[in-house]
């Protein structure tokens, strides 16, 4: 028994250690992910060279971790120490100075490194996305099946009705009731009335649905002045959304990048060598030619230094349009609400040219506000809702449901209309 007991002890300690360490690692990696996307992702990807080198295996490349810390925090100061590897790297990347990160602590950097380690090597497909994408297709299939079933049942019903009336006629004949002139089914008032009602209901339904869809433009995918692929930038190269859409965290508009932001990378990246780009209709797009279009807007001649003052703005076609009486603020959703871009824009990292994912209708907005929880415990703003905090503690409010946007007034008119 004692052996068993001590075994159990050892096992449980072992379990505890492994579990806690794995949880710790996970936390680390998660913090690291957000730190990575906030600080590094604009110039680095894990498995891909961008403005800076791919970071996979970075720890192995640096002989001393302390040097790595010093380099990340203040690369300019570190360069001056004359470290050979650092200087080689600097020269290799055309002496492009890295940003300074004096606010990052060693712990933060460890978290980032942990995250980099946790990312699988290039080629490993992320799971989960495909399943959700398949769902809408199934839905449309089932409507067809239901439609066919309804049609078959209607025909069967019609036949049965005919049979019934024939049988009735037969029995009438037998019992000697004089037969009335047979009315063909297309002049049968009951049928006509029935069909009229069906048509009216169906027509009314279609008109209503059609009217409600007026002005909505789900799946809107206009041709843009430049074939800009989010799949290449955000998907394959994993550039953080905010590198280009800088206003997302701060203000109402997410903002489109100005030409100089494009040129940060494209001054160096002048040809497209990735997988062939295809439009939805199958046309092949010449990526390099599209980059040249950018150069035209930027007033850039290859091989010569770029004069930013010669740039002309690119006139993109706006896809997501809200009516004038709607106030929408990106910072409120992405920053305060921690909503992922994909929630409203769809799997943008897989789109070639952007397509409107949601119908942007009020019902769609309100539904989300009903279901989404606010960052009730994490955001200090909500500390003023003392009653809700108490109710959560005492269990009056179901903590699994939490405090939704609706609960704090997020479905009231003047949250969006003023």
């Amino acid at each position: 028994m004692t052996i068993l007991r001590s075994l159990a002890k050892i096992v449980s300690i072992f379990l505890f250690i492994t579990l806690s360490s794995s949880i710790g690692n996970q936390l680390n990696a998660q913090d690291g992910k957000s730190l990575f996307s906030q600080n590094c992702a604009s110039c680095h990807a894990v498995n891909k060279k961008l403005t800076g080198p791919a970071l996979a295996g970075v720890e192995d490349r640096w002989p001393d971790k302390k040097n790595l810390y010093a380099w990340i925090k203040n690369n300019q100061a570190f360069l001056k120490t004359g470290d050979a590897y650092a200087n080689k790297l600097y020269n290799e990347y055309n002496k492009t100075a890295m940003n300074l990160f004096p606010t990052l602590s060693d712990k933060d950097i460890d978290a980032i490194l942990a995250y980099i380690k946790s990312v699988p090597a290039a080629g490993a497909a992320p799971a989960g996305g495909t399943a959700t994408a398949a769902a809408p297709a199934e839905e449309s299939d089932s409507t067809l099946v239901f439609g066919l079933l309804t049609l078959i049942l209607a025909v069967v019903a019609l036949i049965l009705l005919q049979v019934n009336s024939n049988l009735k006629k037969l029995s009438d004949d037998k019992s000697g009731i004089p037969a009335t002139e047979p009315v063909p089914f297309y002049r049968n008032k009951a049928y006509i009335a029935f069909i009229a009602i069906i048509l009216f209901i169906a027509g009314g339904y279609m008109t209503t649905v059609g009217a409600m869809n007026l002005g909505r433009s789900k799946d809107y995918q206009p041709e843009q002045p430049i074939y800009y692929s989010h799949k290449v930038h955000a998907g394959v190269n994993q550039i953080n959304c905010q590198y280009c859409h800088t206003g997302t965290y701060q203000g109402k508009q997410a903002t489109l990048p100005s030409v100089n932001v494009c040129m940060n990378c494209h001054a160096a990246i002048n040809e497209y060598k990735g997988e062939a780009l295809k439009r939805e209709n199958g046309d092949v797009v010449d990526g390099t030619a599209e980059i040249k279009k950018l150069y035209k807007y930027a007033g850039f001649t290859e091989g010569q230094p770029w004069d930013a003052s010669k740039a002309k703005p690119i006139e993109w076609v706006r896809i997501h349009n809200l009516p004038d009486h709607v106030y929408f603020n990106h910072a409120q959703h992405v920053n305060a609400g921690q909503v992922a871009c994909q929630q409203c824009h769809g799997e943008i990292q897989k789109m070639g040219e952007v397509k409107q994912f949601a119908d942007l209708s009020m019902g769609w907005c309100v539904n989300c506000h009903r279901q989404t929880k606010v960052q009730f415990k994490d955001n200090g703003f909500y500390s003023i809702y003392e009653k809700f905090h108490e109710d959560l503690k005492s269990g009056k409010i179901d903590s699994t449901k939490g405090i939704t946007v609706e609960k704090i007034g997020g479905t009231e008119c003047q949250k969006c209309h003023y």
Partner: protein, 1034 residues
């Protein structure tokens, strides 16, 4: 408590027939419905037509909607500046400068466009306060009447051509005529110009000058300066017709100071309040706020000053009638009782009267306490006689070249014809006016200056206080700074931009110091010095002789005055200011002759005590036109009867009747009254004795808003909206108002249980936030800054005069004016009234489409896109604060028919692409057929919450200021989260339990706006008289 009987109109005072009929109607006019009993098919729109239209419009709508969606472009910057984020406003400290008026402001710039001005709290002079004119200034930037390029003889020219042509003309010297210049660097530029062009001189000319005071101070103190005033230190204030809260010298500054003495600290052991005695000729904003008001003729001001001087010295009061004598006694008593904390100001432009006032101030110890010669002010520097001499020189052909900047004498000089004739004899005439004003129109060269929001510059309103101007937008047109022209013509290649920078960088410790100062917008002296000046008493003796020699008139007199919004005429082209109801008369879009009720009886044969006659005057907008003639000049204007005006004095506002080239808003609005002024003892005198009035028989409609949005409820009439008491009553029993409210709520379980027990509705939780507002009626002086601020912040539409005549004005916030007491000289209370955001709102229950409903934060929400325009809510609103878009004022509809014939040119001009740049992009522009109303600036509340969320912290008071609160020079409005125990609004309500009240509390609509009752420091003398009378009656 004996409730004062408040009234707003003469009909209400008499409970006239028309009044009783009208109060039950929400809207002033009859609805255009024709009752037709001739049968359904014979009706104008029979069923078949109806079906035809229905079918057609459905088909048309479907066809229109199924057309392709318009393609919208999203165009980012080519190179985005680092610190500009589209959609986020930037704020720049700058300075509102209009002629001599200076107010430090912060400009809100949204996506490159300045859209709102806020007061700069770092300036100790205005401390974040603004005026209606400051608030409206941003609209002037986008005025379509602005000149778009320089011209020579009316033809477009380049700056090079202009410079070349003028360079030759400057030999032999030029005269620069400007309004008061407060900018030290501009003065340096002018000095440089004068030095480089020998024979030149600079003449300062103010339309409404303070020459009398400047000359008087020179005689009394040896300094031709205006001292700064400290109304906040004065416990007794006597004003001889100086409208210091509205238009006199620096009203924003004085309003702030004045309110300090008027606010009551309920927590203080001994409550204190300043006392203000006002001698009034024609009803003014300041007079309306006075504790005690005595009516006099303009010609009696001198005699009053002399008598007051004698009284404060302990002598006899002579030369005035009994009523005024009583007033002077009260004034002298208050002044002597508060020696060292007393102040006398006079609005007169007569040197001798001002010398006498100086003597009074010396006796009462104001000199060096409430009057500070240690820091003089630069608001007004013009000396009328200098300009008069220049006009003579011009006519004598002695002037070769003349430059006008700010000054517009062809319009404002009493003898304008003489100026015009003189200008015709000047070879080279140059104007720097931004618009083709009256003077620019007769000048050969017009080189438009920037708007101040496009300029660099500085201003020194008070010695030692510098306020900086930085551009908030690149110049919209081909304009050039006035200073740049002067620099160029004096052979200096420096641009004024660098000139200002160099001028100050040296003094501020280089580039960094300059940048920091620009960010703050102001430099303030380290320690304010308060000092007096030694008075020269010999000047008093001769002044007394001169004043006594002036003959008192026994005939009808005229007083010309400035309006709060229009000023000396600068505001006339601004539609926001034209549509702002004048605080005193509550009229818009016109000037008129103000007469007293007594004169109405004798002149117009209207007895206002007779209900029928009051109705005849009041119900319809057309007013009788009277011809006023004086000294061979005459003017025909409609007459308004305004209580609080001297029975033998009439008033006319200057600033109207501008040239049509300065803007659409001036077309058909009022007449120019400047020619009626005269030059007396070398200064311009804005009053005339011996005027003749003749009724012409014609009528003219005046868009008067005093009788709009009045109401009566079955539970109690609106007299109970207002609560006021005298200071003596308050000291005797501070809890009087609270006790009244308690008594009223007693049947419903007292005030504590009133919300719960007086209703069948459930009481709702307000977790988190509950917005609340408090308005201190003691601090509010009715100046109207909040009304214009609301216009700017919330895209409130201008509707034009014809629509105001029909009671269709859209202001979300109005300032109600209540009279009480004697009809000839009543007490006046102003009450800003906006949507009260009732927790038990009557409007919400009656909306058939739930377009107006309540938020969990206590806001009464209005959803425009849901509103179908039944107007039931407006009918059911006990406060009448809901506004209906009768026509498409904003151009928001896609149907041009909704504007044609419905709105006038001014309104259409507000829809011009240029003017629309002033719109706040965070607020929906409302279209025809929907109701709108005060939203408590919900866009600001949402932004404040978001800011707090972004920083992950609870909201603080400093996050939120609603537009009206921010604009208020007296901090009368407090706003915030009433659920927060530490917020300012909670503090105001907790600290002032005695004076807090809700309007129409008995209706149990549970407003979220509290008011602090008006307490007036009315004289004991008056009270005794009233009580004696009451006893007699009993």
């Amino acid at each position: 408590m004996e409730q004062n009987k408040n009234w707003q109109s003469f009909g209400e005072l008499n409970k006239s027939e028309a009044y009783n009929k009208e109060v039950n109607n929400e809207f002033n006019e009859e609805l255009p419905m024709v009752e037709d009993h001739s049968g359904f098919l014979q009706a104008k729109a029979p069923r078949r037509d109806f079906l035809k239209y229905l079918g057609f419009s459905t088909a048309a709508a479907a066809a229109a909607a199924s057309c392709e969606m318009p393609i919208k472009k999203a165009i980012p910057f080519a190179n985005k500046p680092e610190d500009i984020v589209p959609g986020i406003a930037d704020y720049y400290a700058t300075t509102y400068v209009q002629d001599g008026d200076v107010v430090s402001v912060i400009a809100k710039v949204r996506d490159g466009r300045p859209i709102k001005l806020e007061g700069n709290t770092l300036s100790p002079i205005t401390a974040g306060g603004t005026s209606a004119r400051v608030q409206a200034a941003v609209l002037d930037l986008y005025d379509t009447a602005r000149l778009r390029f320089p011209t020579i003889a009316g033809k477009e020219a380049t700056f090079e051509a202009v410079d070349k042509a003028i360079a030759a003309e400057l030999k032999g010297g030029a005269v620069i005529v400007t309004s008061s210049i407060t900018s030290p660097s501009t003065k340096a530029v002018i000095a440089q110009f004068l030095a480089k062009n020998p024979g030149s001189k600079h003449v300062t000319y103010d339309a409404v000058s303070f020459s009398g005071m400047l000359l008087a101070n020179e005689a009394s103190y040896g300094k031709k300066v205006i001292p700064s005033y400290h109304f906040e230190k004065a416990k007794a204030i006597v004003s001889l017709s100086a409208d210091f809260l509205g238009t006199w010298l620096s009203p924003v500054e004085f309003a702030k100071q004045y309110a300090t003495g008027k606010k009551i600290d309920e927590q203080a052991k001994v409550p204190a309040m300043s006392k203000h005695i006002h001698f009034e000729t024609v009803a003014s904003l300041t007079g309306s706020n006075a504790d005690e008001k005595y009516l006099c003729r303009p010609s009696e001001i001198g005699a009053i000053a002399v008598a007051l001087l004698s009284a404060v010295k302990g002598g006899e009061i002579a030369g005035v009638d009994a009523k005024l004598k009583a007033g002077i006694e009260v004034a002298a008593k208050a002044l002597t009782a508060n020696k060292g904390a007393a102040l006398v100001v006079a609005g007169s432009n007569d040197k001798d009267i001002q010398i006498v006032v100086n003597a009074i101030n010396d006796v009462i110890g104001a000199n060096g306490t409430t009057i500070n010669f240690g820091a003089t002010v630069n608001y007004r520097q013009g000396i009328d006689s200098e300009f008069a001499a220049l006009v003579d020189d011009m006519n004598a052909g002695k002037v070769n070249t003349i430059l006008f900047h700010g000054a517009n004498p062809v319009y404002t000089w009493p003898a304008a014809d003489k100026v015009k004739a003189g200008l015709a004899k000047v070879k080279t005439t140059i104007s720097f006016s931004g618009k083709l004003d009256e003077t620019a129109a007769v000048c050969k060269f017009v080189i438009p200056d920037h708007h101040f929001l496009e300029s660099w510059g500085d201003a020194e309103p008070v010695t030692g206080h510098i306020s900086f101007i930085q551009p908030t937008i690149a110049p919209l047109f081909k304009t050039r700074a006035f200073q740049d022209s002067l620099l160029k013509w004096s052979g200096d290649a420096t641009e004024y931009t660098s000139y200002v920078k160099n001028y100050w960088s040296a003094k501020l410790g280089g580039e960094n110091g300059w940048n920091k100062t620009l960010q703050d917008g102001v430099i303030n002296p380290a320690t304010p010095v308060v000092s007096g000046a030694t008075i020269n008493s010999s000047a008093v003796a001769s002044a007394l002789i001169a004043v006594n020699a002036a003959k008192a008139s026994s005939k009808i007199e005229l007083a010309l005055y400035q309006k709060v919004g229009i000023g000396a005429g600068q505001g006339a082209s601004n539609p926001w200011l034209q549509e702002l109801p004048d605080p005193v008369t509550r009229a818009t879009w016109d000037n008129y002759i103000i007469v007293s009720p007594a004169m109405a009886k004798t002149l117009l044969n209207i007895d206002l005590n007779n209900g029928g006659q009051a109705d005849a005057y009041e119900v319809q907008p057309p007013k009788k036109v009277v011809k006023l003639s004086v000294d061979g000049k005459s003017i025909e204007l409609p007459v308004l009867i305004i209580p609080g005006t001297h029975p033998q004095t009439v008033g006319i506002a200057i600033g109207y009747g501008r040239a049509e080239s300065v803007g659409k808003a001036v077309v058909g609005t009022g007449k120019n009254a400047y020619p009626l002024a005269c030059i007396k003892n070398g200064t311009v005198n804005f009053s005339c004795a011996d005027v003749k009035l003749e009724v012409t028989g014609a009528t003219y409609p005046v868009a008067l808003t005093q009788t709009h949005f009045r109401y009566d409820t079955t539970q109690g009439n609106r007299t109970e909206v207002m609560k006021e008491m005298t200071f003596a009553e308050y000291v005797k029993n501070p809890k009087e108002i609270l006790e009244d409210r308690e008594a009223e709520a007693k049947p419903f379980g007292g005030l504590a249980n009133y919300e719960k027990d007086a209703t069948i509705y459930p009481v709702y939780d307000r977790p988190g936030i509950k917005w609340g507002m408090s308005v201190d009626l003691n601090a509010c002086n009715g100046c109207g800054a909040c009304v214009v601020a609301c216009n700017a912040e919330n895209n409130v539409a201008i509707v034009g005069k014809p629509e105001v005549l029909r009671g269709h004005e859209m202001h979300w916030l109005r300032i109600d004016k209540y009279f009480s007491g004697d009809m000839e000289n009543p007490k006046v209370v102003f009450q800003p009234l906006m949507c009260q955001h009732c927790d038990n709102a009557p409007c919400e229950n009656v909306c058939p489409v739930a377009a107006t409903n309540h938020s969990s934060e206590g806001l009464n929400q209005m959803t425009y896109n849901r509103c179908i325009g039944t107007r039931y809510c407006a009918n059911n609103c006990p406060f009448k604060v809901r506004r209906f878009n009768w026509a498409d004022y904003t151009g928001a509809d896609s149907f041009p028919d909704n504007q044609e014939g419905e709105v006038n040119d001014v309104v259409l001009n507000m829809n011009d692409d240029l003017t629309r740049m002033v719109l706040n992009p965070d607020v929906t522009v409302r279209s025809r057929g929907v109701i709108e109303k005060c939203s408590f600036c919900v866009q600001r509340l949402q932004a404040a919450k978001l800011d707090a969320k972004k920083d992950s912290r609870p909201m603080a008071d400093s996050d939120i200021k609603v537009a009206c609160q921010q604009s208020c020079p007296t901090n009368a409005i407090t706003f915030g989260n009433a659920n927060d125990k530490h917020s300012a609004i909670t503090k105001v309500r907790v600290d002032n339990p005695n004076r807090s009240f809700y309007v129409l509390e008995q209706l149990h609509v549970l407003p979220n706006v509290t008011y602090l009752a008006k307490v007036r420091n009315a004289g004991e003398g008056e009270e005794h008289a009233e009580k004696a009378e009451a006893k007699k009656e009993a």
